[in-house]
């Protein structure tokens, strides 16, 4: 048992599959009660990390502790406090959702009264309360919602979710994100995703994983500030494309994205930009409606750090 107070503590963790390096010396810490986003493109190593945290795989080197216990030696005591949803949850197709939740609850040795009450509330939460069909007839979205419900059957201290929203429609996705957000402060949520918007919406802290390495690990607000460029939003009373074309190639400008009459610019030298942009607007005979500094989106930070197209 370590003296760590972090819900999840990963130190110099490496995982090799033969010659392939899936995780390359990653370290990160997840504070208890927080909602932690584990962000990365497909194949970055997110699922491998979760498999190690749940004891399904063993690290090649380094350590991972969950709720203060090393996962390699953690017994069932720590599993009783963890809920896990894999990226594609597999269920017994001959069971109903109620059957599966009862089975899962019995593995956690919940008493029958607590289990019955929890099954009812979780089925309602998952929108499956009135569904009597066998799981074999479920859509992927229904299975994902049942996966969330089974992960919460033991009221876990730590919820590990692997791509929990990837199979959901927009409404289902919003519901799951709201549910994750509602757990903040009571349950530590560690969820992997490649959907940047999900992290922006609910996470306190996020780590960005790329090719098996953690390239950023900080509060979401700090991550946004880390982008190498500053951002300016400009709105004119004409076509912003002409303005973008006029400024293209300027040394102070990194990127310019126009949409109708507005323009979003990533600038390397804010002082120069503040002088050059009004000049360019005036030079084109346009009127300046809006000129303001903007915050980088997580997507922009992600592209900046990962150095490629968005996942």
């Amino acid at each position: 048992m370590t003296t760590s107070t972090a819900a999840v503590e990963i130190t110099h963790l490496t995982k090799r599959f033969g010659k392939a390096l899936a995780l390359d010396d990653i370290s990160l810490s997840v504070p208890p009660g927080s909602v932690f986003g584990f962000l990365g493109p497909n194949g970055a190593g997110k699922t491998t990390t979760l498999r190690i945290l749940t004891g399904l795989a063993t690290p090649t080197s380094g350590t991972a502790t969950v709720l203060g216990q090393d996962v390699r030696h953690a017994g069932h005591d720590v599993r009783r406090d963890i809920g896990f949803l894999p990226d594609v949850p597999g269920f017994y197709p001959w069971m109903t959702a109620r059957d599966f939740l009862r089975f899962a609850g019995n593995l956690f040795r919940l008493d029958s009264r607590t289990l019955a009450a929890r099954i009812d509330s979780l089925l309602d939460m998952a929108g499956l309360g009135s569904v009597s069909a066998k799981i074999g007839a479920y859509s992927r979205g229904m299975k994902q919602r049942l996966g969330m419900a089974q992960a919460l059957i033991n009221a876990p201290s730590l919820l590990l979710l692997d791509e929990p929203t990837s199979a959901l429609d927009p409404i289902g996705r919003r519901e799951v994100l709201e549910m994750i957000a509602s757990l903040r402060g009571r349950t530590t949520v560690f969820f992997s995703t490649h959907i940047l918007g999900d992290v922006e919406r609910v996470c306190d802290t996020a780590a960005i994983l790329h090719q098996g390495r953690v390239v950023a690990d900080a509060p979401v607000a700090d991550l946004k500030r880390r982008a190498g460029a500053e951002w300016i939003v400009v709105e004119v009373d004409g076509d912003a494309r002409a303005l973008a074309d006029r400024m293209a190639g300027a040394a102070w400008l990194r990127t310019a994205e126009s949409s109708g009459s507005s323009l979003r610019l990533a600038v390397l030298d804010l002082a120069q930009a503040q002088r050059a942009i009004p000049e360019a607007v005036a030079g084109l005979g346009l009127g300046l409606r809006r000129f303001e500094l903007a915050e980088a989106s997580l997507e922009e930070v992600f592209v900046e750090l990962v150095g490629g197209p968005r996942p």
């Binding site: 498999r51 749940t54 004891g55 399904l56 795989a57 063993t58 069932h76 599993r79 009783r80 963890i82 896990f84 894999p86 594609v88 949850p89 597999g90 269920f91 017994y92 001959w94 089975f103 899962a104 019995n106 593995l107 956690f108 040795r109 996966g147 089974q150 033991n154």
Partner: protein
């Protein structure tokens, strides 16, 4: 062995609610009913066929209850064993490929409990199916024949059952070792046929589990085959196969 009873309950419920209820029990009961009937009418059919066109008359002995019992034992030793191969091959590998193993193994269910519940549930299924099949065979045979060698028949079935219980553990080991259902089934069939071929050598039949299938037939004929070492080695083999399956499964990643 955390979670053993809960997971065993799930396994037994799965047998009851899925196709598995129709395979081993269904086959056993089918052969229990049809074995004595076939034994009774096969000589009649052969006589009818032989005398229809050719005018040749074949003299066949009257069928006996022993032949009815032998028919059932033969079906257990062939078709039911193949069914054990097919159902046992996917017991662990099927849970892995469907993703259900991941979901249950991240709960307080130990890996030994997972594997041993698979072994025990399949053994319970085989024992109950065989007992029911034996009772039905005796009942149908009693309705059709006189002079039933019940004691010899029950002894023969019990010897076969010992081999089947051992073989269930072997199939579970195959399913742990080989991740594909087809591969596990192939390994199980290889083991089964190897044992049957090896049992042709008297020394192997006398000293190892491989002698059990032939011993069950000899017991039905009223003979007293050597049973001590075949039973002891089957018991040791069952424990060893189960322990090996547990050990391998604990080291494997899922």
């Amino acid at each position: 062995m955390s979670g053993f009873a809960v997971f065993l309950g799930k396994e037994l419920l799965e047998i009851r609610r899925t196709w598995r209820i129709w395979v081993i029990p269904g086959l056993t009961l089918f052969f229990a009913i049809t074995g004595p009937i076939l034994a009774l009418f096969t000589p009649e059919l052969l006589r009818a066929l032989a005398t229809t066109d050719s005018g040749v008359v074949i003299k066949l002995p009257d069928p006996t209850a022993r032949e009815a019992f032998a028919q059932f034992l033969q079906n257990l030793g062939q078709i039911v064993m193949i069914a054990l191969v097919i159902s046992g091959a996917g017991s662990v590998s099927g849970e892995r490929s469907s993703g259900t193993a991941i979901l249950v193994l991240t709960k307080p269910l130990s890996r030994p409990a997972f594997v041993l519940a698979k072994v025990v549930s399949q053994q319970i299924l085989v024992v109950i199916s065989t007992i029911l099949g034996t009772i039905v065979t005796i009942g149908v045979t009693a309705a059709l024949f006189d002079k039933l060698p019940v004691r010899e028949f029950v002894t023969g079935v019990a010897i076969w059952l010992a081999f089947a219980i051992f073989f269930v553990a072997v199939m579970t080991l195959c399913s742990v070792m080989i991740r594909s259902r087809g591969g596990a089934a192939g390994a199980g069939l290889f083991f089964l046929f190897s044992a049957l071929i090896a049992s042709a050598f008297p020394i192997v039949a006398k000293w190892t589990f491989a002698g059990l299938p032939a011993a069950s037939t000899r017991a039905l004929l009223g003979q007293t085959p050597p049973l001590l070492w075949p039973l002891v080695t089957a018991g040791i083999g069952m424990v060893a196969a189960s322990a090996l399956a547990v050990g391998m499964f604990q080291r494997q990643e899922n």
